[in-house]
């Protein structure tokens, strides 16, 4: 069965490109534009094998999203990757404290994205 991945980013370009790369590799993807929308997706019956979230987003940021997601029993242990940039060392640690599994540094290539997703979600 195809692994299913939730992608949360306020940039449609980033979201769509991640989605595209993952779909090429046979993953099923669901997109959300911010943390709040992401949480709504978790309320659905969906089962995600991995969640990729940006940090800085309107309405609800990625860190808050992770904290809230970890409170939902079904998503307590699901791998969550944070999209970050080199300049955001603090964010990456905040992410880990909130319960993120790892991070993807922007900008990234398709190979790098896939390598990280495979590392945590396969």
């Amino acid at each position: 069965m195809a692994k299913s991945i939730l992608i949360i980013d306020d940039s449609a370009a980033i979201r769509q490109s991640i989605s595209y790369i993952l779909q090429q590799e046979g993953y099923a993807t669901v997109e959300a534009g911010d943390g709040l929308e992401g949480l709504q997706k978790l309320d659905d019956a969906a089962n995600f094998d991995c969640i990729i979230t940006d940090v800085n987003m309107p309405n609800m940021d990625g860190i808050t999203f992770i904290r809230k997601a970890r409170e939902i029993p079904k998503f307590k242990f699901v791998p969550i990757l944070v999209l970050t940039t080199e300049s955001q060392g603090t964010k990456m640690n905040e992410g880990k404290e909130a319960g993120a599994t790892g991070w993807i540094v922007k900008p990234f290539s398709a190979d790098k994205l896939l390598a990280v997703v495979k590392k945590v979600a396969e």
Binding site: N56, T85, T90, K112
Partner: protein, 705 residues
């Protein structure tokens, strides 16, 4: 992917930049509004993060210092003033232009450079981030490397890895065991988990991690690749990676256990010295004295074994092995066979001459010849595993063709067998496996209905048993249908309807030529050839085939094959003036035969607490001459049936080089070959299986009761 999403990004950036303009203008009105500063930062941050992804590296680089300045503002390290807003607005226009022109040249124009300079200065003016000490390292990018390809002899390094995950590691969604799979993908890995901290169930938090590991990895990858495996967990777990000395093949032998323990800091040198003074095994002493824990000792022992193995692998690299044609190898084995025979003669002659000097030379030569023989034979021995692997493919293809789910389980792949034997086993095994899949295993639906797991299992196992290798193919299918087998045999004219057959005999019908019970002839196995070919091939290897089957639970076919076709360990015996060799592998005991044993008319003799049938080889082979007194009985065990062979004298062990029988003897029942003795005489090799087969059923029964 860049091109595909470039347009989306451009539109998005356009929108964000429009929004940014509004924010900046509003900010000019209310410079203290943190919400606005945050929004401005977010817009720039998004643009910067995405620009690089879609080929707008220039815009990305240009934005870098602007982002830093805005970051400083939102965390209160810098104030927003008119000048900053001016600069930001100009920067916004510049970004817009950079994205619009999509210019990939490396040069910024003067205006861009001036703006960047300004932002750099402005960022430098900001107060430094507080709590500098706790500032985490910048995130490293995780590069998950592929397993190193086997390039030209790369330098292998060994790393010792101690890994103790954080107690709450599961709560980050980390799959700890997977990290070890990543390590294993880098090279050769040995891991020892330390479970000593796992508490009893009453005090266990099932969602906490209590296990730590000591691993040794030998790889051509560098230490960064090893560290990358742990990139997401290293900040909150205990991780120590040490590179061990390079293995260079001609190193001074394996490291001592004590050195490893001291090196790891587990044992103090002075403790070691003391422990070494006792004459027992170091590890035991250290554990007993509680200097090391059992797990620490185990992991050090694993390290020792691992390094030794890695060293051996390194030194037996491609340069140290050569290809030899198997003909040459066969010639060598032949010559060694002759040599063994000559040596036996030399030994006998030297005994006759009774010259101590000569005897001592003969004995030393005897040891050398034995070593040479083992060596030559071992060159032809190959693990059967390579053949087993071929069957994986067969099973995979067949199972999809037949629509059945099948797991192939192999056991004993490391079992070594003469190369020529392995080659000749290939076809028979393919036939047997095909049969198991086609006839033996049910369809998933039938299996489920029968209360079995829907996936069937075919087990392919090899093991040494004396001078033989026993290979079995078992399935957990429906078992053989005896009624169908008998009916088919009658239909094929192999059996007459009146024949009463035991279950075992009925099962053996499947090895008769032209036998096939498949209801529908399939392309897989119902072609009427197969099992008879199997039996013929195994017979010609000097082996035997047997079948076991249990209705509903599966069946298994067992092949017993001699290890080698060339030399056997034999027991030399004499009947009148004829010499015979019994394969030592089947000999269980020798005992005196009393005349009451051999002439009580029952053809049964007491052996231990049992009555076993016996055969007088003198009668069996019709050797002329009167039977002497004080004869011997050699008890042989064939397929768990014991029989006694009555002989005139047991002479002793004998290494026997098997020579095929000449045409004249080819049909002789009960003989499988001949050999030349030390004194030049010929001895015949007895085929104990054939002789056992000739025991009438009633005696088998008598034995059983």
């Amino acid at each position: 992917m860049n091109e595909k999403f470039k347009e989306t990004f451009r539109e998005e950036a356009e929108e964000l930049l429009g929004h940014l303009e509004d924010i900046l203008l509003e900010l000019e009105e209310r410079p203290g509004d943190l919400e606005l500063v945050n929004a401005a930062f977010r817009a720039i941050h998004t643009i910067k993060g995405s620009a690089g992804m879609f080929g707008f590296e220039k815009a990305g680089r240009f934005t870098h210092d602007l982002e830093s300045v805005l970051d400083a503002c939102r965390s209160g390290r810098k104030d927003v003033d008119k000048h900053l807003i001016d600069l930001s607005l100009r920067a916004r226009d510049k970004i817009k232009a950079l994205i619009a022109e999509d210019d990939s040249s490396a040069q910024f124009d003067a205006e861009a450079l001036a703006l960047m300079e300004e932002f750099r200065d402005s960022a430098a003016e900001a107060k430094p981030v507080e709590q500098r000490i706790e500032e985490p390292p910048a995130p490293k990018s995780a590069t998950v490397k592929e397993a190193p390809r086997a390039k030209t002899k790369e330098a292998l390094r060994s790393y010792r890895i101690h890994f103790e995950p954080a107690r709450d590691v599961f709560h980050n969604g980390t799959r700890v065991l997977k990290l070890f799979d990543e390590l294993a993908a880098l090279g050769q890995l040995s891991s020892i988990p330390d479970v000593s901290r796992v508490p009893p169930l009453e005090s266990l938090d099932p969602e906490s991690c209590y296990v730590s590991w000591n691993s040794i990895l030998t790889t051509s990858a560098d230490i960064d690749a090893v560290k990358d495996v742990f990139i997401f967990v290293e900040s909150d777990s205990k991780l120590r990676i040490d590179q061990l000395d390079t293995i260079d093949g001609d190193d001074s032998g394996p490291r001592k256990l004590g050195e490893i323990l001291v090196d790891r800091g587990v044992v103090k040198p002075e403790d070691l010295g003391e422990a070494l003074r006792s004459q027992r095994r170091l590890g035991e002493v250290l554990v007993e004295r509680k200097v090391v824990t059992d797990s620490e000792l185990q992991s050090a022992l694993v390290e020792q074994a691992h390094l030794k193995q890695a060293q051996e692998r390194q030194s037996e690299g491609p340069s140290s092995s050569i290809r030899v044609s198997s003909d040459k190898l066969d010639q060598l084995v032949d010559l060694v066979g002759e040599l063994v025979t000559m040596q036996a003669r030399l030994l006998r002659t030297s005994t006759d001459i009774a010259d101590t000097g000569l005897s001592s030379i003969a004995e030393q030569l005897d040891r050398l010849v034995a070593q040479l023989r083992d060596n030559a034979m071992s060159m032809r021995m190959l693990p059967i595993g390579s053949t087993f692997n071929k069957f994986r493919r067969v099973v995979r293809d067949l199972s999809s063709e037949l629509g059945k789910d099948v797991d192939l389980v192999t056991v004993g792949a490391e079992t070594e067998l003469d190369k020529t034997v392995i080659e000749r086993l290939n076809d028979p095994l393919v036939h047997i496996i095909r049969n198991s899949l086609d006839h033996g295993l049910e369809s998933p639906a039938d299996r489920t209905a029968a209360g079995k797991p829907s996936t069937g299992t075919v087990r392919l196992a090899a093991e040494h048993s004396g001078a033989n290798v026993v290979i079995s193919v078992s399935d957990d299918g429906r078992g053989m249908n005896l009624t169908a087998i008998k009916a088919k045999a009658v239909e094929r004219g192999i059996l007459s309807p009146q024949d009463q057959l035991s279950e075992a005999d009925a099962l053996m019908l499947i090895f008769r030529p032209g036998f096939s019970t498949a209801q529908n002839v399939t392309s897989v196995s119902g072609r009427g050839v197969g099992m008879d070919v199997v039996k013929r091939e195994i017979d010609s290897l000097g082996g035997s085939v047997s079948v076991e089957s249990k209705a509903g639970a599966g069946s298994s076919i067992v092949l017993k094959i001699p290890l080698t076709l060339a030399i056997i360990e034999g027991l030399l015996i004499r009947v009148a003036d004829e010499y015979f060799v019994l394969p030592l592998s089947v000999v269980e005991a020798c005992m005196e035969a009393t005349s009451s044993d051999t002439s009580n008319g029952t053809h049964l003799v007491r052996y231990r607490d049992d009555m076993i049938p016996f055969i007088d080889l003198k009668e069996y082979f019709a050797v002329p001459g009167a039977a002497p007194d004080g004869r011997q009985i050699v008890v042989v065990n064939v397929h768990d049936n014991r029989i006694g062979l009555v002989v005139d004298a047991v002479i002793g062990d004998n290494q026997t080089v098997i020579k095929p029988l000449g045409r004249m003897f080819r049909d002789a029942v009960g003989l499988s070959g001949a050999t030349i003795l030390g004194d030049g005489r010929v001895a015949l090799i007895v085929d104990c299986m054939k002789i056992a087969d000739s025991i009438p059923e009633r005696e088998q029964k008598a034995r059983a009761s």
